[in-house]
């Protein structure tokens, strides 16, 4: 029962999900709702004694049928750890889970855009420490994918394909390369350690990827996250977002593009200092950065090598 209003001045929706004000907030370890339910223990969201990966409807949804979806993806039944500490097999399985959820949600008439994401760290508002991510099924096309479609129009084709070729040609900001996947700090990164993990071939979504591509995607994401943790030798907060083609039944663009890639928005600009969205970022929509992408890419590359 969230409410959507349209902000005419900005041309974007605002969602009011005021029941989320009461959502579980940093519970102590013994009361983690994402742990498996232990006999005699407190109830949790997963009423089983063990599991591998679990996905459930959010108890405090921002969207819910017939007006979208909000799901929680629990990576493991082990309370401690992170995406970076999962086994390679579990990361690969998670890629398949993401693929499956995208496929199911895109078939729903009330979902126009599927966004798979993970918030990591209290710095970005995490309220549960158990390794997990989320999936939102938006009943409208949000501003960011709309901007990406506009970039396709502006560049006369798939923007991520074009930008990937530019990054490979330049090379200074490339972090990781494999047969099917490339990671780089974008030339015009807004966050100091922003990174994009992009499929080399044009793949509109996870559904277009074969098993090998999914495996390499998972490997690259994990190598990057481990590099983040090595960068300042501390758990590195980030927002990780999977960008894929919109799922609206009606065409949302004259050029129906969409290129699977994963973007990381880390708020740290040093080991202790956060980047805040202040006057210019909020009032004008223009990021002012204290760092150069070429320099942060070099530091991140070294951290990835240390973590490997």
């Amino acid at each position: 029962v969230s409410e959507q209003r349209f902000n005419e001045l900005r041309g974007e929706h605002v969602v009011y999900a005021i029941h989320r004000q009461d959502r579980t907030f940093l519970p102590d370890r013994a009361h983690c709702p994402l742990d498996p339910t232990k006999p005699g223990g407190p109830p949790t969201e997963i009423p089983f004694a063990a599991f591998q990966i679990a996905v459930f409807d959010n108890r405090f949804p921002s969207f819910e049928a017939p007006g979208g979806a909000a799901e929680v993806v629990v990576y493991t039944d082990e309370h401690d750890g992170s995406f970076g500490t999962l086994s390679p097999a579990r990361v690969e399985a998670l890629m398949w889970v993401w693929r499956h959820r995208y496929g199911e949600l895109r078939a729903r008439p009330d979902v126009d855009y599927v966004m798979i994401f993970e918030n990591r760290g209290v710095e970005v508002g995490v309220t549960l420490h158990h390794p997990h991510g989320q999936i939102y099924g938006y009943p409208f096309l949000p501003p960011v994918p709309t901007l990406e479609l506009a970039a396709d129009e502006r560049l006369g084709g798939c923007a991520p394909c074009e930008l990937l070729q530019r990054e490979l040609a330049d090379g200074r900001r490339v972090l990781l390369e494999s047969e099917h996947v490339v990671a780089y700090v974008p030339e015009a990164a807004r966050w100091a350690y922003e990174a994009h993990v992009v499929m080399r071939e044009h793949r509109a979504s996870l559904l277009d990827c074969d098993a090998h591509e999914l495996r390499e995607l998972g490997q690259t994401l994990q190598a990057l996250v481990r590099g983040y943790d090595a960068l300042f030798d501390r758990p590195f907060p980030y927002v990780m977002v999977v960008h894929q083609a919109p799922t609206a039944a009606a065409p949302v663009s004259a050029t129906p593009h969409g290129h699977l890639h994963v973007e990381f928005y880390p708020p740290l600009r040093t080991a202790e200092k956060l980047k805040f969205l202040a006057g210019s970022e909020q009032g004008a929509g223009t990021f002012i950065s204290d760092t150069l992408p070429e320099e942060t890419a070099a530091a991140l590359r070294e951290a990835i090598a240390r973590a490997a």
Binding site: P47, A49, S178, A223
Partner: protein, 133 residues
């Protein structure tokens, strides 16, 4: 600190104490919609680590009381995943994904593609792709 933890616990898991006033998130009959209730009892999962036959045996023999109030709907597959759909007692969907991780680890050992990390390079230096490997 003890008091704070107790208050946090109450706020998190005993929402009925918090919503004495009429809430806009109440359905007909005055039943609270949010926060939804937690399931009441643990159940035994179809462990993906165990053989399929064992899981089928468990499915056929498990009494409803052993499964708590979560209701298992059906099992299916997607790629390497086994998928078990469960209806939680508050009506929400829960999907358990299983994966043969032993086999996947073996596959990983034989099919892993080393990733190439280019060395840092200044903008004014010519690029030598082979040297970056």
């Amino acid at each position: 600190l003890l008091t704070a933890n107790l208050l946090l616990h109450l706020n998190t898991f005993v929402p009925i104490f918090r919503t004495a006033a009429k809430s806009p998130f109440r359905a007909a009959g005055d039943e609270a919609l949010y926060p939804r209730k937690m399931p009441s009892a643990p159940a035994h999962p179809p462990s993906p680590e165990r053989p399929q036959s064992a899981r089928e045996d468990e499915r056929s023999s498990a009494a409803p009381s052993e499964q708590g109030r979560a209701e298992r709907e059906r099992e299916e597959r997607s790629g390497p995943l086994t998928i078990t759909r469960v209806r939680k007692d508050d009506g929400r969907s829960l999907i358990l994904y299983g994966h043969d991780e032993t086999q996947a680890e073996l596959d990983d050992a034989t099919a892993h593609q080393p990733q190439r990390m280019p060395e840092p390079q200044r903008a004014d230096e010519p690029q030598h792709q082979d040297e970056q490997a």
